[in-house]
Symmetry: C3
Subunit: 322 residues, 3 copies
């Protein structure tokens, strides 16, 4: 028996809106710790991890661990029917093949029940180790979203470079080049306007803008975004979900070869000469050991996959972490 009552139901609406374009089907895992999800995007390039801690719910009853396979698009369709001020309750029976979303208006005049069929989805949890990052940038989430969108009008990839002075976002395309520098700024009127850079050593990594733009769909969840960078690790783009959890997006940096291939795919009609200098400090992600393994399926397209060694401890790691 599962019954999770969330007073700020709009949070769940926003969470679904931020992952439904990236992930088609996924298992939501419910345990005493909280309500969580971990899934690869459909092209197996990016990873999403969501955690809503049990303490954040007004009422949280989860008699035993439950994994519920859902089509995120259908789930989003149902959650869209909740009013922004509605209280949302998620209900499921232990052996059942459906989940029910109940929406109560603040005045209790309108009560809706949406029942959705569950799916069987094969998935294994990826253990995500605690990591040290070379640089962590915290900045206004709307600013980050604007930059990713702006650069997309010029090029397909973004180079994120962090120095002590600030963080630079660069791209290059057929019509020219763009560089946007955001300076560290902690003396702001509102804390959510701050740009804070914690840097161990300078880092410069290249990412596909397509995924970055997808991650920024989570912008309505939080005023700030945290971008954690290391040349040995996938970038982590994190949005807090109120005081109760987070949504984290992981994306492997692009290597020079990927660049060429992807550009060829995306724009077959133009000349395919690589325009960017090789990014020499970005080590192949497949070298990262032992828990997080990135395998290049076709020698070019990096993939994050769980190793067989990944067990329950790491799964709990993901939930407990932070």
């Amino acid at each position: 028996m599962l019954e999770l009552r969330l007073v700020q139901g709009s949070l769940l609406k926003k969470v679904l809106e931020s992952v439904k374009d990236l992930v088609n089907d996924a298992n939501f895992d419910c345990s005493a710790t909280g309500f969580s999800l971990q899934a690869m995007d459909s092209s197996h390039v990016a990873l999403v991890a969501l955690l809503l801690r049990s303490e954040g719910f007004e009422h949280y009853r989860c008699d035993r661990n439950l994994s519920m396979g859902m089509n995120l698009n259908n789930m989003a369709k149902m959650l869209k029917c909740a009013g922004n001020d509605d209280i949302v309750t998620i209900k499921a029976d232990d052996g059942g093949d459906t989940v029910t979303f109940m929406f109560e208006s603040p005045t209790q005049d309108k009560i809706a029940d949406f029942e959705m069929k569950l799916m069987d989805i094969d998935s294994e949890h990826l253990g995500i180790p605690e990591a040290e990052f070379q640089a962590i940038v915290r900045m206004p989430s709307a600013e980050f979203a604007r930059i990713c969108k702006d650069l997309s009008s010029i090029g397909d990839t973004v180079v994120i470079s962090v120095t002590k002075e600030g963080v630079k976002f660069s791209t290059r395309g057929d019509i020219g080049t763009a560089n946007i520098v955001c300076r560290q700024n902690t003396t702001v009127d509102k804390p959510e306007d701050a740009t804070v850079i914690e840097m161990q050593e300078p880092v410069s990594l290249t990412f596909a803008l397509r995924y970055m733009n997808s991650f920024t769909k989570a912008t309505p969840l939080s005023n700030q975004v945290t971008i954690s960078l290391s040349s040995e690790l996938p970038v982590v783009v994190e949005y807090k979900v109120a005081e109760m959890g987070y949504i984290r997006f992981y994306l492997a940096p692009k290597l020079e070869e990927d660049d060429i291939e992807n550009q060829a795919e995306a724009r077959p009609e133009v000349n395919k000469k690589p325009k960017e200098e090789p990014i020499v400090d970005a080590k192949p992600i497949s070298e990262i050991k032992p828990k997080l393994e990135v395998k290049a399926e076709d020698e070019n397209k990096p993939q994050i996959e769980s190793t067989t060694a990944v067990g329950s401890k790491e799964e709990i790691d993901l939930m407990d972490d932070e």
Copy 2:
């Protein structure tokens, strides 16, 4: 000679916006009583009746009864050119083949004349008898519109069930089911937020959401909508037009057979098993006598048609009624 001056010209704009998608061509009838329209939708399933009483106009001159055939899309195009604060005057000569819409800005600085060609349209007035309904629901129009839209993301039909406690809107589709209950609520701060249920006996009827969604285009006309239900009659969905009249939409309930057929039309690629229990209390509308007759053209698609017995008395009924 016809000259109707409407200070709140935006009402006419909103009226056109609410019927133009449902009805292509229709006769507007002008008499001493008022300016009215009655028309079937293009698939002959729903009926629209509009009345703007003469007292609601600042100036109302109609020397003799006049029936003006108009293409509602073209009429809407012209009315869209009126400003929201403009005074609208409708002018026509008795023998003429055009109608003129004059728009005056509040400051009289801008005056526009739009002249439209009239059409010959065959139509007969359907006498709509005064009827007793099993249940009448009055609720916020925006709430009703939201419910119809939300349910459309799940299924194709809505079951509206009224009990003393409230009104329930239900649907069922491939991805699951949905039930939305609105409770009677008369102790509200603003009268337009009230939900009032007058029930003689419980009723439960099924309708095509496509039409319901079309009717809710009239939502900008009024804060409240009235839904009148009887198992022997088409539902009446009514929006008041200021203090001067109404727009009413009539729709025959769906029978179980319709359901199957319509689903087969709409989604030919999926399994066609009927998912809803037969609605046993919805009698075939063709049994309703004597004035309103619903004929099933192809044994499955119900149609509302006027009987030959319909005369001028009933036509006046429609205009005088209320």
Copy 3:
């Protein structure tokens, strides 16, 4: 070396938005006088002239005259990345093949550089003589935009007729006719709401609404628009750019023959009888001498082209004028 710093960077964004749909590629000319552009639209029917005077820039350095060929769509893409409060600086080296747009946020926390490749574009300056107009109408730009949009839903051309009482905009199409009269009105609360008519003699000219609608993309630049009409000249539709310049659109009036041809092109399925009376007072523009010549390429489609006599004096005329 070129360096132009514009504090109100949003002006440049709005300028680009107002011309990019009309003109694909154009030379921006930079001299001690200012930053200007003159270009024909891609179908060679309309002409755009932009001037931003050097005094309007916070910093204006232009060591020698420079003509920079740009793709306006790409330039608009880059300028869209500027924030509305950003300071925009345009930089170029004398011999270089690129131009750089720098955007600084008001707090200086975010600085962006966009570098765009320049193009070689063949173009000659058209000398535009000082002219006397039969009538000059100044009116709210939003009102003019609304009228052009409204009339487009009825017909393809607009007849603009000026008398002492006001200016009349008329059109005619398959569904009917429309006439919109705006009266002279100088006793308004806000100066930008005034409609002022300076008339030497009555004038009535016909124009393609497609171009007029394109010109009104400049509406965000200014609260007022000035329309200068003469039966011997192209109409001039002018929007001021703050206190620093203007954008002017020139369009030759349509002759009756054009009307027929264009309607035939636009709506081949309907009966092609010309519906408008011949506009007898609109002399063929090709008769206008000596500096501005309109040549009918295919005997029907009027074009504005520069004569060989056009020299540097006239080019400066365009910039110095007003």
